[in-house]
Homo-oligomer: 395 residues x 2
């Protein structure tokens, strides 16, 4: 629980892949009426569906405010179908500014001895006063520490270095994939060079190679988080949001990303712009269609309370809907569907690329209306080695 | 974490003795300015000393409000002497009305299979609107549930039955000791007979015998909690607050308690007013002097903010100071001292009756000014059986 002044890299810790075994998944209850329409009620139902879907595969803990806690506990543990096929969802009190556990929760790191620690990135609400989505964000910046205290995990704090968990994906074998649009944005770490940012990624994620895509998805208000656009499905294989429609504003973004991902050069490893993954494999690239185009209705936008300083909602603005924004859990894939013609193809692709997992599609529109999706609202906590934990207790 | 509709008794659970192995001790950060003088600052220092003393022997978790959490974490983990001889104290967010973990926290129960659950007594701030100490108390009534959620412990809720953990002491072998002054008080469960209350104690503590002392300590604003007056030190042995001074208002209380405790009848076990302990031993009674008489100074009382509905502080009212109000931890006794001439005798008695424990005396005056002492502000969580826990996980 103590805050360490070293880094994961120097201590032999690294971020495991999302498909590595989880102890549990963390979520945060959506309550903010200036982001979630109708005082969050529809979003709470959507988050409940996601939490219960995850809880079929692994434990879930949800943070909620003191005021909402009892209501959250009741909703999250109510079984509509009386099948009771999910484990009890734990609810703990955590005061937050909003519900994005991916971005405000810790990035958990492990070592080969089975220990689990957490990286507490400095958070500025996706851009601070320069394009950020709300202010203040002081509670959100303390979420990671709250979670690490509850779990009795030691904490690395990146004082002064801004990052959100949704802007990175790792393969667990030394590679991270991210976007220039987000990490090099002047509203994150404007004082730092690309090389200095790469050093931070190496230090806190324990990775060796960085794959930079130019952009994320069009109109993603996070400034192009990778987790809405491209992800690893196993070491050496990625899944990329894709459109063949030259009129879609994502067309050039997809082409540029593919160009980077295909531009691998076997036989050289240490160049500064090497696009190989860390173990020098050619990447296998799978394409995933983009739903829609999707837009919020005027009625949906009208359900959001207007508050100065918070990003307003506009029915004329295309939503950054994506099938990439799913969570890998122990034995399952929890992915969003949008009542869209491409839902079936997305599900089929997920089943094909994750043949060992059970693919569960849950309604994602209410989460998308709030600005993200299933990966954005979840944060996996890797499982500690039981053997090593017991051994540590005995020392 | 789920709420059970059965009782510990029917499920084979019981409250273990305080000297049984602990997983940790829970505390709550003192913040309430109408109870703790000078906005709680001196009490926070006193609680920190207690928490750090306990943390030399076992883990400690402290609940604090969102607003106070970072300050609490810093204070609790600051080592004045740089010896760092206590383990890191975990701080978690729990919104409360005050800082009495003994009375608002769960009473943990265990079974012979090594499982741990919690009893969540209904709480009414020591008397509700009829002599209770503050209103509202809704947050305090949810503290036990908060703690049990964090610990993933299943919960028994005594809907409609009022009790505070400080009003009971058990020997872990089937006996509870309590006071008529508190449990039969019309401001707790006026609709229930003594026999009905005894049934509740049997059901939720898993005990068989109840020892009723008439009263607790004079002027105890909890209406005579047993934990400020008399406790088990091991099965068959009790420690009783004692004065030989007939002018002391405690004199008759002590005599009456002694009369009950000495009035054991070997050879009969099942009578409704049997004062033997559950295993039919004669009790061995040790006496402990009462400090003082102690009074709050006018300056101390002036530091407390006056709020309608909260018990005011008066320098003319004798404080219910007691050396009985200590906590047994893994290998230690954490007891209060009062800069009083009887401190040394109290310490000597504790060392004599707990020869296997290290006795640590810490300043208790600031806690006493708030209305209790070390036992009142702590709640031990028994250790689960590691073997059985692992086995359960595998089932």
């Amino acid at each position: 629980m103590a805050t360490l002044t070293s880094t994961p890299q120097t201590d032999g810790f690294y971020m495991p892949a999302e498909w590595a075994p989880h102890a549990q998944t963390w979520m945060i209850w959506p309550e903010r009426p200036d982001n979630w329409r109708l005082n969050g009620k529809p979003a709470q139902a959507a988050f409940t569906t996601v939490a219960q879907a995850i809880a079929r595969f692994e434990a879930v803990t949800v943070g909620a405010s003191a005021a909402a806690l009892e209501s959250a506990r009741a909703q999250l543990n109510q079984s509509d179908n009386h099948r009771d096929n999910f484990t009890h969802i734990r609810v703990v009190e955590i005061t937050t500014d909003d519900a994005w556990a991916r971005d405000t929760g810790p990035t958990f790191v492990i070592n080969h001895g089975g220990q689990v620690r957490g990286v507490d990135w400095t958070f500025n609400a996706w851009g601070g006063l320069d394009g950020g989505l709300y202010a203040p964000w002081a509670n959100d910046d303390q979420v990671a520490a709250r979670i690490l205290q509850i779990e009795r995990c030691e904490r690395y704090r990146t004082e002064g270095f801004i990052l959100e968990g949704g802007s990175i994906h790792v393969d667990g074998e030394g590679t991270v994939i991210t976007t220039e649009e987000c990490l090099l944005n002047k509203n994150r770490n404007p004082q730092m060079s690309r090389e200095a940012i790469e050093d931070k990624l190496r230090a806190y994620l324990g990775i060796r190679k960085i794959i930079w895509l130019p952009n994320g998805l069009f109109n993603d208000e996070t400034n192009g988080h990778i987790d809405n656009f491209c992800c690893f499905i196993r070491p050496g294989e990625v899944l990329l949001a894709w459109t063949d429609d030259p009129q879609d504003p994502n067309f050039e973004r997809c082409q540029a990303a593919l160009q980077v991902l295909e531009n691998v050069h076997d036989g050289w490893r240490d160049g500064p712009r090497d696009e190989n993954d860390a173990n020098d494999r050619k990447l296998i690239i799978h394409k995933m269609p983009i739903p829609g185009p999707l837009y919020a209705s005027a009625a949906e936008c009208a359900g959001v309370q207007t508050v100065a300083g918070t990003q307003p909602r506009d029915p004329g603005v295309r939503l950054a809907g994506s099938y990439i924004n799913f969570l890998i859990v122990n034995g399952g894939i929890i992915a969003a569907k949008f009542d869209d013609p491409k839902d079936a193809e997305a599900e089929a692709i997920l089943k094909r690329v994750f043949p060992q997992h059970e693919v569960v599609m849950v309604p994602g529109r209410e989460i998308l209306l709030g600005g993200g999706n299933i990966h954005c609202i979840t944060q996996q906590q890797p499982a500690a080695s039981l053997f090593k934990t017991a051994g540590t207790d005995q020392i």
